[in-house]
């Protein structure tokens, strides 16, 4: 009933075709014979996750013309996605993992390979060697960013999470996870390259998402990428994390597409080395849930100042309800840029973004979470060509999602 209300809205951006394709995939999966799913077989495990979601944008002082009309309305597809994971034990201590995701924001909703790796455990050393495609552990929730069931927000804070222009790495690496003192340590590092566009993971009606996940796309490739992190889980009350990433980044097609590329991407007009370091923590204690991260990006281009950003989230769970507030901020001279389709010069460089999000989640179902959130954004920008006397851009994003696992 809720969805039909969204579908009946007059928005020009409700991409019903993609949504229907996505729902067909989902129905096919549900209709698969139980023997094929073999959920509890020791040989193969098939699991899945997904989100049905809708967002709507309200705004004032919208700067660029192309955003004024096209982005009004309700977006059904941006948050909608379906993922399927197959994990098979090749032999004792070895496994192969394949995970595909279909995004409602994509034109064809074709599955994209998210994980495809072979892992070999060496239990006596608490070590695991991995080769193939992995999700780069850039942030605290990077690896589970597509699985809304796992975190409290509708989407992780975009001010931080959208600054990294990649999601996956094709390469090799290791995980070292010994028990140290009172907690569990995890050190993981991967080396490789990213050969496909970041647009696949950045949600939005045109394929990507930028700041609000209702904007548009960019494309980036990375080589010689190193993604590493160290985590220390003391208990469910406290997880500490620090990460370091570096890569050679080459932006592609930036001026032929519209919207907001990841900030780090547009800054770089040619292949450049970039570094991203971050620290954070999260935990749950007596009903309280909390997490915070902050990050710094350095680009090997002396004229550009560093990016800095972070967020703090605090929530409280009472029975089946969780309410939370989250404050995010980024300041930089790297981007994000808004670029008009037909006129590359008609751009505005956002120098500061702040947002405040409020959300309410319902956990009354074992395998599903219902989420509602309001995010209030405030951007300050410098105009490349002066279009308006306004120097800031404010808008609110309302989102409703069902996150589920199966």
């Amino acid at each position: 009933m809720i969805f039909s209300g969204f579908l009946n809205s007059k928005s020009t951006f409700v991409k019903q075709r993609q949504l229907i394709i996505l729902m067909i995939y989902f129905l096919i999966f549900l209709l698969l014979p139980q023997s094929l799913l073999a959920k509890d077989s020791p040989q193969i495990t098939v699991r899945g996750f997904g989100t049905f979601g809708a967002s709507t944008l309200t705004k004032t002082n919208r700067y660029l013309d192309f955003l004024k009309e096209e982005d009004e309305g309700t977006y059904f597809s941006p948050s909608t996605k379906l993922g399927i994971n197959l994990t098979s034990n090749l032999q004792e201590n070895s496994r192969i993992v394949v995970q595909a995701i279909m995004l409602g924001s994509q034109d064809n909703a074709e599955p994209q390979l998210d994980l495809a790796f072979v892992a070999r455990q060496i239990p006596s050393l608490d070590l695991e060697l991995v080769i193939g495609r992995v999700v780069a552990p850039i942030w605290l929730f990077s690896e589970e960013q597509s699985v809304g069931y796992n975190y409290v927000w509708v989407r992780p804070p975009t001010e931080l999470y959208n600054t990294a222009p990649i999601r996956n790495l094709d390469g090799f690496g290791f995980r070292y996870s010994p028990k140290v003192s009172v907690g569990d340590l995890l050190v993981q590092a991967f080396y490789g390259q990213s050969t496909y566009s970041d647009t696949s993971q950045r949600l939005g009606p045109n394929g990507a998402g930028g700041l609000t996940d209702v904007l548009s796309e960019s494309s980036t490739s990375m080589t010689e990428a190193l993604s590493s992190e160290i985590r220390y889980q003391i208990s469910s009350a406290l997880l500490l994390r620090a990460g370091y990433n570096q890569a050679n980044i080459s932006p592609r097609n930036l001026l032929t597409t519209s919207g907001t590329p990841a900030s780090i991407a547009l800054t770089i007009s040619k292949k450049e080395m970039a570094e991203l370091s971050s620290v954070g923590f999260s935990g749950e204690w007596n009903g309280f849930q909390y997490s915070a991260e902050m990050a710094k990006i350095k680009v090997a281009l002396t004229s550009i100042k560093n990016f800095e950003g972070g967020y703090v989230t605090l929530g409280y769970k009472y029975k089946n309800f969780l309410g939370y507030a989250s404050s995010s901020e980024q300041s930089h001279l790297l981007g994000n840029f808004y670029i008009v389709n037909t006129d590359p010069l008609a751009a505005a460089r956002v120098t500061e973004t702040k947002s405040m999000s409020y959300g309410l989640n319902y956990y009354g179902f074992e395998d599903m979470v219902l989420k509602f959130a309001v995010a209030k954004y405030d951007e300050k920008f410098n105009q490349v060509i002066t279009y308006t006397t306004e120097d800031n851009n404010q808008f609110d994003l309302y989102s409703l999602t069902f996150d589920f696992i199966f």
């Binding site: 509890d40 994990t87 004792e92 892992a119 006596s124 690896e143 956990y363």
Partner: protein
């Protein structure tokens, strides 16, 4: 006589209405094949094995944990005691592990007698039961109450 019968009726009814009372009294026996010897195993070892697939220091071989199905109350009690995890929290734990490619849940065997048989036949299997094992090749590694 009447009052005794009514007391029995009330107690029986209460234990049905509040099965938590039964849960609190439930003994859990972590069992393994007799061939692994007499290692000293702690609740922390069992937790690390079942949730993180980590080796138990006192045991040389890599053990494969066997689990009960979600439908069994024994499973809820077991994870509450070893890790203070509710069923939903356990689901979230495995959701994180599976969809980040870091691991998969233990193998599930539908009935306790089948778990005992599997442990008896395979020296690398470890499981848990709501009763003491009766098979001569299965021994109790740890009693959790």
């Amino acid at each position: 006589m009447k009052s005794i019968l009514s007391k029995i009726f009330i107690i029986t009814a209460l234990t049905q209405i509040f099965p938590i009372g039964k849960s609190l009294a439930q003994e859990i026996y972590v069992v393994a094949n007799v061939s692994i010897g007499n290692p000293k195993v702690s609740i922390e070892d069992v937790r690390a094995l079942y949730l993180n697939n980590r080796m138990i220091n006192a045991i040389d071989i890599s053990l494969t944990p066997i689990d009960c199905p979600d439908t069994q109350e024994l499973k809820d009690i077991f994870y509450k005691r070893i890790a203070n995890l509710s069923r939903i929290e356990l689901k979230r734990h495995w959701s994180r592990a599976i969809f980040t490619g870091k691991g998969i849940p233990p193998i599930v065997i539908q009935r306790e007698d089948l778990i005992e048989s599997a442990v008896a036949e395979n020296p690398s299997f470890i499981g848990y039961l709501s009763r003491k094992p009766s098979h001569p090749k299965v021994k109790v590694l740890l009693q959790i109450n």
